[in-house]
Symmetry: C2
């Protein structure tokens, strides 16, 4: 990532897309969230959802993986231009993790983020804290995931 | 689960324990959160953490899995006593997902939950909304995970 000083509040990042297959939905749920509406088409048809849906955690973890891949691409771009790469993470946690609509089989979710706040870190010298709101939107333009995260980001070193 | 009417604000649930091995920490991170301090001991030793640590999402997903297993045990107990089983879920989302301390290799995390609020659901007839705070505490008594979730829980059917 860029240094803390080079990040602007309001800047947006196009994180990427993920399509949720039935096999992947069931395999994730089997391990982490074995509720009937994530595991079995017939049980899901009888549920509130009416059809098989991805675990909300699955929707969030697909975002997390794409976010790390996005950062790696950003870092490669910086290195290829001979620019320094700032250290990032760990995250402090998340606020307002919401799943306003379900993710159904073969939905493609488009993830994006927007920087909402920057502030000094009292605990960690050389790092600032950056907050950003991330969203996942399906192929019909419906919001399926929203979360606000706060993470450490390295400051530009001061000259000696 | 018990019906919405039978859940008391303040009641606590002992969800269970999970021990995080190095292999499991790395396998989870490889798939969902490939940051150096979750993947490689040498890189982790040079990081803020000083040693390999579990992804915060891994700490949360271990909770989710144990919570579903806990509900299944509760349901089996109700059925074995000939009592009705209330439908539960889905969750609306989470508030204040926090990782105040890292989870290191071979840490055993004890998960528990406390019901913090009950309220009517405006959107779903026959269900109420229940909020509960869940925590993960390591073998040294340190809090490593805290989250507040809100989920649907079936109301006791009214007599005709």
């Amino acid at each position: 990532m860029k240094y803390f000083e080079d990040i602007q509040v309001g800047e947006t990042w196009d994180i990427g897309r993920h399509t949720f297959t039935a096999d992947e939905i069931k395999a994730f749920a089997q391990r982490f969230d074995p509720q009937p509406f994530h595991l079995d088409e017939a049980a899901a048809a009888r549920s509130h959802f009416g059809a098989l849906v991805a675990s909300g955690w699955h929707t969030a973890l697909a975002w997390m993986r794409l976010m790390i891949d996005y950062r790696h691409r950003q870092d490669e771009g910086l290195r290829s231009r001979g620019e320094p790469v700032a250290g990032v993470g760990p995250a402090l946690g998340f606020r307002e993790l919401k799943w306003p609509k379900p993710v159904y089989v073969n939905d493609t979710i488009h993830y994006a983020s927007e920087v909402t706040e920057k502030r000094a870190s009292a605990s960690r010298t050389g790092f600032g804290l950056m907050s950003f709101r991330s969203t996942g939107v399906n192929q019909n333009g419906e919001l399926v995931l929203s979360l606000v995260s706060t993470t450490f980001l390295e400051r530009r070193p001061t000259r000696a």
